[in-house]
Amino acid sequence: MRLLYQILWKDHSRTHLLFAFLGTLAGFVLLLAGIQFYIDIKSVLSENRDLLDPEYIVINKKVNIGQTLGLSKVGFTEEEIQEIAQQSFADQVEPFLSNEFPVSGYTENERFPDFHTELFFEAIPDEFIDVKSEEWVWNPEVGKIPVIIPQDYLNLYNFGFAPSQGLPQIPKGVLSMIDFRLRLRGKDGYDDYNGQIVGFSNRIHSILVPLDFLKWANDKYGYFDKSHPSQVIVVSKDPTDPSIIKFLEEKGYDTIREKLKSSRMNIILKLIISFLVVVAAIIIGLAFLVFLLSLQLMISRSSEKIKRLNKLGFHYREISRPYILLLMVLMTAVTGFSLLITSLLAGKFHTMAQDWSLNISSSLHGILFGMAVGLIALISLANVAAILISTKKLCK
């Protein structure tokens, strides 16, 4: 059948086919590379998180003017906490417990200036707290209250307040040594306790006391109305989950944005990748059209020959074969080259990522092979159908 191929291939347009080939190749490389890197970066993001603790996200409601005027509640209701707990990203949800009595702190030490302040306490179960200390226990017999304050408070004092007021800076260790008194006021009087700062939290921006202490103290002194907790802590094993940010925004909840960086990164990544995929799809679509048109042009240029071959007894399927073979050769080349180029890119990216100590696979993900072959098969099928239809039209 060499002669048949010789006759029909003569009428091809090399430039058309070349551009169709290059276009399809470009589209495929873009698509495959986009998906390859998406999978890589996604795994890097979640990998880094897995190595660390799961993310602890403290959520509060956004403060609005209604709350300032006392018209709307700032706390989370039982249902709202339930709703958060039901979200896919939330593995554990715990509301903060607040003090239900007035509390103030003061110092009674000659070595330190006198100091007096109204305070508040909050408590959550120990497993949510990033400070581990042997002194973090409440014993009513001893009557010493351990306190954890945010690292930021100390920083604010040491690097903001103290230098501007001519006060000495206080190292962490010294602060822990300061004894101060805590006055818990009940309805019928007050008691003073010793307090001690036992740690500084980077995770929780609140003045923490042990949960069992606060429960005990609320029982003993509490007389405020039971209020809804104003903050909840959520443990998320997958802080890259883009639905976290979406949920918070929908509900009008607030959190420290920094914590959700990877969730936002994931969203941005998805946006970029979907943009890439759309562009790739458009390129592939256009290239597919050029392919289709080039082959159709070839067929219509050969229409006289095809009619002649048909008269000689060639079935239109036999006549289609040279076109289909040409298509297959080009499509196989597109598949091969696009996988090759993508894997070269992946290798390059791998070495680059190593410089940033990111672990990115240097070989192609299996799914890419499947995708490339599947897409090629789809495009080829459509083209084969078009070839058969147009050769059949020319035959009698």
Partner: protein, 214 residues
């Protein structure tokens, strides 16, 4: 292989006066394998149309044509393709050669799908028609008379039960015509095939069984 025509007439022929025709709208006209027919008529009377109907190229006709009692109109792509490869051969008035293939390649192109004859056999055919020197020349640069002989050779280089020859001697001199006709007759005899020959005026060809006036 038997063709039977029942009141068949190509649609374009309806405009003409065909009352004295032995073929158009004839009742039960039969063309049998093993016999040779000459269809005579001046131009424009539908000689090519008749052969085209028999070869499946034309389907715009009224009435019916049966091939071995099967309606031609019921034949599929595959049926026609098989018929043209194994049972029907045609020498086209327009020759239908590929100009950019050589004489030999033109014949082989068809022969490849039928696998009927060897290169030696093709050379034999060429020898019989004095075409041996032209086997490796491009068909496009041959004279029309030579091209006609290439078309004849191609038609003979395949199996057939019926050979349809459409004015295939029109550009040959008497001597070449007789040589070609003798070769056609010979090949038809070997295959016990039928022959339908159209011509403007080839009444003097020997061995014609039936002469049909269109």
């Amino acid at each position: 292989m038997i063709f039977r025509f029942e009141q068949m007439i190509p649609l374009p022929m309806l405009e003409q006066d065909t009352s004295d025709s032995k073929v158009w709208e004839a009742e039960g006209l039969v063309l049998e394998q093993g016999k040779s027919y000459v269809v005579e008529a001046p131009s424009g009377r539908g000689k090519t149309s008749l052969l085209s109907v028999m070869y499946g190229i034309r389907t715009d006709y009224r009435g019916e044509v049966f091939l071995d009692n099967n309606k031609l109109k019921s034949f599929s792509w595959k049926d026609w393709s098989e018929l043209r490869k194994n049972r029907l051969s045609m020498i086209f008035q327009g020759l239908e050669l590929f100009d950019d293939l050589s004489t030999l390649e033109n014949i082989q192109l068809k022969n490849r799908i039928t696998g009927h004859v060897s290169t030696e056999k093709i050379e034999e055919l060429a020898h019989a028609l004095d075409m041996e020197p032209y086997l490796h020349r491009l068909a496009g640069i041959l004279s029309f008379g030579q091209q006609q002989r290439v078309a004849i050779m191609r038609a003979l280089a395949q199996p057939f039960d019926f050979l349809l020859a459409d004015e295939c001697f029109s550009h040959m001199d008497k001597e070449n015509t007789l040589k070609a006709y003798a070769l056609i007759q010979h090949e038809c005899e070997i295959r016990k095939a039928g022959l339908v020959l159209t011509s403007l005026n080839e009444t003097d060809l020997p061995g014609i069984d039936v002469s049909l006036k269109l």
